[in-house]
């Protein structure tokens, strides 16, 4: 029987951890609503589970996504996670071959102590080398993590996360595990003249320098203690992400979604955050002076520690830039938004004064409140509708209710849903087959919350269709245009190509360094109620600066909010796609007599 009291810190620590996880995850599962439980029951034995397992390997161990964003940081995470995992697996195989049967839980971990002379079993030499190689792999990552703590730039980050005391304590335990393992194994190998290329050589050096024997036993105790402390401390620190990320991957693959009224998915996502800090560098609020550190990693930390997170919940553009780079794939925007509901009061019957009215038409045009503040856009859209000979109803021309999304962005989900059902009735009664909106903010809620049995298009998609089908024609201008992706349309609704296609018909589109998924927020976000106008303009300045990298003659966007915000600070004229197309449109005589609308000159 292989046993020594020094295995106790490790064994007890591990058992406590497993017990904690069992209770924690069991409670979460219990708290899931009936619908989610049903989903799990039906999907447990399907391909989805296999896909989840593959994802766990790719993301939880190899950290493929971090590699894509930042190879150095990817290597660091991979060597720690995947390296440690392989150490456990290969160690278990080695121990299994040696005892030719089952062994206690701790046996593979302390194998070198119990079996110091490894010359007597199958492939023992190979195992010694392999285990040393894996240990070296982990240690290399550890070295990078160590360097990152002192200088984030070594792994290509501008800033790294600030840690709590308990995090630092457990982090120290984690950092000690592998050096202590190296020490314990080397001392043992030195004394017994065994070990692989790393522990064997290091051991020989130790043995040459001093008698190793008295240090062997304390070193194994220290190794076991560091493991035990790490396991016991894990639930209270960011390292909870290691087991929880797996739960998240399963849940996601089984189709479970964040819900405002259910705490489970919110908790799973929050505990899955490894605090890697990738979200910090990508956040545009980072560049501002005197603002709270409200990046996702800090927000999640506050929520998890049950500290007041109101200020952080509100100081966010909800632009989705962090979400697009989060290696764990946490729904950072939705998560933040749902926590905003904790601070919003829902008044009853706020919209009793809004009356329903409807019209029959093929196409509904919903300009949106912001578009009414940029009338050139809606006038251009009317010109385009008329030119295309469309039978359309301008739903919010003279009086209309808000789409509801600004309320939702403020955390007032209940009030938003009242507006949604009000507008939804009017839309359904019109008998239209298509709904066109000029505002990406409206577009997103029409798509996601209205459950409309008709096509919902942003005007950039609609205009592109008209151009492709030649329902309208434009004269291509030689003017060079850079396209600014609005957050809600790009990252928010994955519409990237249609606006570019439409623009290409009418002008010469050039790209800039931060477009598509990486595009910057204009700063005018409706979601952020705490940012000063001055700071919003600072963000807009930076965005304009980046957009005009390649000296375009015009900035085109597809959002009235972006147009207004960028236009206020830009030396280069900012227009909406609809304006540009309407200006270049070849006007043919149409059925209805058209009113002359003066459109501002562009260049």
């Amino acid at each position: 029987m292989y046993y020594d009291p020094f295995v106790l810190p490790f064994t007890l620590g591990l058992l406590l951890l497993l017990g904690y996880l069992l209770v924690k995850y069991g409670t979460w599962f219990w708290q899931l609503d009936a619908q989610d439980k049903k989903k799990i029951r039906y999907r447990l034995l399907t391909r989805r589970t296999l896909i989840a397992l593959r994802e766990i390997v790719a993301e939880g161990l190899i950290h493929r996504k971090i590699f894509k964003v930042n190879p150095r940081l990817g290597y660091m995470h991979m060597s720690l996670a995947f390296g440690w995992f392989l150490l456990i697996v290969v160690g278990a195989i080695e121990a299994h071959i040696f005892v030719k049967g089952s062994a206690p839980l701790y046996f593979p971990i302390f194998f070198r102590y119990f079996v110091p002379d490894q010359h007597h079993f199958f492939f023992s030499w190979g195992f010694a080398q392999l285990m040393d190689l894996l240990l070296l792999f982990v240690l290399s990552g550890l070295f990078m993590a160590f360097a990152k703590r002192f200088n984030a730039k070594t792994v290509g980050l501008k800033k790294t996360t600030k840690l709590k005391v308990v995090d630092k304590f457990v982090l120290t335990a984690l950092w000690l595990i592998f050096p202590l393992r190296l020490l314990a194994e080397s001392l043992t190998s030195g004394y017994h003249n065994s070990g692989g290329f790393l522990t064997g050589s290091l051991g020989a050096v130790f043995q040459y320098l001093f008698p190793t024997e008295p240090f062997i036993y304390p070193a194994w105790w220290a190794y076991s203690l560091s493991l035990g402390v790490f396991f016991v401390g894990l639930p209270f620190t960011r390292y909870m992400h290691i087991p929880t990320e797996m739960v998240l991957i399963f849940f996601r693959n089984w189709g479970l979604k964040l819900k405002v009224n259910n705490p489970v998915l919110k908790a799973v996502e929050i505990y899955s955050c490894p605090k890697c800090g990738i979200c910090i560098d990508t956040c545009q609020l980072n560049e501002l002076q005197n603002t709270t550190k409200s990046q996702s990693v800090y927000f999640i930390q506050r929520v998890r520690n049950a500290e007041n997170y109101r200020e952080l919940a509100e100081n966010c553009l909800l632009c989705g830039r962090c979400e697009s780079v989060c290696p764990v794939g946490i729904d950072l925007t939705a998560l933040r938004l749902m926590h905003k509901t904790d601070f919003s009061e829902n008044k009853k019957d706020q919209f009793a004064f809004v009356s329903e009215r409807t019209n029959t038409a093929d196409v509904i045009y919903f300009a949106g409140c912001m578009t009414h503040l940029t009338p050139t856009i809606k006038n251009s859209m009317e010109q385009i509708f008329k030119q295309a000979g469309e039978n359309y109803w301008f739903m919010d021309k003279e009086q209309g209710a808000c789409c509801g999304r600004p309320l939702k962005l403020a955390g007032q989900f209940q009030a938003a849903s009242e507006l949604v059902s009000l507008n939804r009735n009017m839309i359904l009664q019109s008998g239209a087959h298509t709904l066109v909106t000029s505002c990406p903010i409206c577009y997103k809620i029409f798509k996601e919350d209205y459950r409309l049995p008709l096509r919902v298009l942003h005007h950039s998609e609609y205009i592109n269709e008209l151009l492709v089908s030649k329902k309208i024609q434009v004269k291509k201008s030689t003017i060079s245009v850079v396209y600014h992706d609005p957050c809600e349309l790009g990252r928010g609704a994955a519409v990237y190509q249609a606006p570019r296609n439409a623009l290409q018909f009418a002008s010469n589109v050039i790209e800039n360094g931060s477009s598509g998924q990486n595009s910057l927020c204009c700063g005018g976000s409706l979601a952020n109620q705490s940012l000063s106008e001055n700071n919003k303009q600072n963000i807009a300045h930076t965005t304009v600066h980046k957009l005009t990298d390649n000296n375009p003659e015009l900035i085109a966007t597809a959002c009235p909010m972006c147009k207004k915000t960028l236009g206020a600070v830009s030396a280069v004229k900012v227009v909406d796609i609809a304006e540009l197309v309407a200006k270049q449109m070849i006007v043919k005589p149409v059925h209805q007599k058209q009113k002359a609308v003066s459109v501002a000159e562009f260049a």
Binding site: H372, L373, P375
Partner: protein, 340 residues
């Protein structure tokens, strides 16, 4: 006494009045104006508040004053570069003219806020939307009604366009637009008594003598309706009139109204060339982007740069009375500076 030369940049009311005062004190003045004529914004105004004195009257008086043997007026002239040596300034002007000055007075004034920046009001989009300055031009005509294509049965004035508006980064009050709106609404009523006149305001700031009286007259004598609330947007209706949306904040109700004419009370913004001037003379610019004086109580006409003085609306929005007072104060400070 050795004659000293003073360069005055900007020939609006402040620059003209200061030139005259300094000339009377025996100094040589070079009055530099970027535009083709002197007088500044007075050229664009019909009548002045609160006594409705014709702007022309003031303009004539100022022109007479600067018609002085000690004053050289240079129009169509800009200051390109400034070099400083031993309390003297060398100003490089258009066409490589160079003048040496013992002191410099900056009176570059203001510009009207570009109302097209508030796209929601439709300036430059709908031809029924005009600015306060456009309306003054229309007042020059004998028959106001004949200036509009369609009969104007209702007109709405919007206060604070580009002032007290964080969205356009102008947090300050332009001060004179309230009383200008009161004056213009009365003038509108006088010319077209059948027209209904509405003013949409945030606060009525009747800070000067007889301003409050004018405001009372507007309500009592002319029946002009003042609604506390800012207009959120204007759009064109089917019949070609404008629909405006606002909130009546005293009644706490949203409001929608059709109007035939919308007058935007564009506020004051620092003149475009101020940035260049501030770099050349190393002058401090305040958070509101106007020039910053050395001490806003005792040294309001002094800048942080010795020998460089400030007066008028380049310091902050102000009316002509205050501008003229500042111009005279500046002349006195310059005189003290040069004679000590």
């Amino acid at each position: 006494m050795q004659t000293k030369t003073i360069a005055i940049i900007g020939a609006g009311p402040a620059g003209m009045e200061a030139s005259a005062s300094l000339a009377k004190l025996g100094h040589q003045v070079v009055l530099i104006e970027k535009k083709a004529s002197t007088g500044g914004h007075l050229n664009n105004w019909h009548h002045l508040f609160p006594d409705r004195r014709p702007a022309k009257e003031l303009l004539q008086k100022l022109k007479q004053e600067v018609n002085h043997s000690n004053i050289e007026v240079m129009v169509n002239t800009a200051v390109h570069e400034v070099k400083q040596n031993d309390y003297r300034y060398e100003l490089v002007l258009s066409e490589k003219n160079v003048i040496n000055a013992n002191a410099v007075l900056i009176t570059t004034g203001f510009e009207l806020f570009d109302a097209a920046k508030k796209e929601e009001y439709g300036y430059g989009i709908y031809n029924q939307v005009i600015t306060n300055s456009d309306l003054e031009q229309l007042f020059q005509a004998d028959n106001l009604a004949a200036q509009f294509k369609k009969p104007v049965k209702r007109v709405a004035f919007v206060h604070c366009v580009g002032s007290r508006d964080a969205k356009v980064n102008n947090h300050y009050c332009s001060k004179v637009c309230c009383v200008t709106a009161v004056k213009q609404s009365i003038e509108f009523k006088e010319r077209m008594p059948e027209t209904e006149v509405f003013c949409f305001y945030m606060d009525m700031r009747m800070f000067g003598p007889y301003y409050e009286e004018l405001y009372r007259e507007a309500q009592e004598k002319w029946g002009i309706v003042f609604i506390r609330g800012k207009i959120s947007e204007a759009s064109q209706t089917r019949d070609g009139s404008l629909q405006i949306k606002a909130e009546d904040t005293l009644a706490s109700k949203p409001l929608r109204m059709n109007t035939d004419l919308l007058v935007l009370m564009a506020g004051m913004v620092p003149a475009e060339g101020n940035e260049h001037i501030s770099r050349q003379f190393k002058l401090a610019i305040g958070d509101n982007r106007f020039f910053k004086s050395k001490d806003n109580h005792f040294d309001n006409q002094l800048s942080d740069t010795p020998g460089v003085f400030l007066a008028g609306a380049c310091l902050a929005p102000m009316n002509i009375t205050d501008t003229i007072s500042q111009a005279r104060a500046a002349a006195l400070r310059i005189h003290e500076y040069l004679t000590n």
